[in-house]
Subunit: 195 residues, 2 copies
Amino acid sequence: MIKTSRPKSRDLIMDAMESILNQDSFEVATVDAVIERSGVARGTFYYNFPSKNAVIHALARRAAQPMVLRARERLSNDAPLSEILTDIAQGITDWNQQHPKLGRAVLSSTYDERGVPAPSDPNSPESFRNFLSEVFLMSQQRGEIREDIPAMNLSLMFTGMLYQGLFMWFVRPEAANLSLWAEQSTSLFLEGVKL
Amino acid sequence: MIKTSRPKSRDLIMDAMESILNQDSFEVATVDAVIERSGVARGTFYYNFPSKNAVIHALARRAAQPMVLRARERLSNDAPLSEILTDIAQGITDWNQQHPKLGRAVLSSTYDERGVPAPSDPNSPESFRNFLSEVFLMSQQRGEIREDIPAMNLSLMFTGMLYQGLFMWFVRPEAANLSLWAEQSTSLFLEGVKL
């Protein structure tokens, strides 16, 4: 019984966190608030997740899953990198525009209280940076892109550019065009700035 | 008398902050600690700076000044963008390697407690992103680089790539080669990833 109820508790916790984040803010979404909203026991929470941020990361992975599946399918169909990257960048910005509070929480959860990234699972096979690194590695093996920069570094550089746009948009939504940012970042990443 | 003593208090405050940050950490460097170390009155502190972060930003600007002057000189001598950017990227990483605690404080000061950037003076003519934007604008006017991406966006994209390397280095210094990161980021930014 414990085994079959486990995935259900996990979903209850994630759904409670998602609903609190969409209605309120990152600060309000404490472990206590999630436990209360989800109705699970404290022990059940910690059995499924080590921390608040772990729940948020799981939400981000759940949200990214359709995009990841689409990209994997395109990769196996030999779609060009430009097409795959455009879809990924647009997918990230679209999702953030549809879930601005949740998106902000996801960004917040990747930084500690001093604004320095606290990657909880840098080597998790599920992490987005690893997925993106895999995309670049396949593209390098196909001979599409340069090989002198490791695929993981390319992954971090591309997300670094995208994140700046998200940051600007969170701080001054009226001044930032997130879709245009995604388009420009992708183009710069592929082609560079030089004429 | 007040007028001539003002720059001196400002320097005393900045020096005190610098020494606390180099010895201790971002958390220890409170306004109270800076006041105590510098020996200035509380009123004098707030006459010169609105906040702790404002002092750290001033320190970052003071540190960046030689690099900015060098870049401006090269710009006026029509040096190619690649040379100027390489120097800037290397200057930033070198300075962080020489002042890791201060560097981490500078990064921390640009984010609020939720890890979202809180740019105190996005339009300050002294801000680094503005300086870099000016470099790209001149390069665009010379016809060296693409004009379809605004110079300010280019500035943010380039710093976004550099920051990712700094973040990695702060979190796992043993796993990151900051100088190589600066070189690779600059090259990717200029040439793009496509073959």
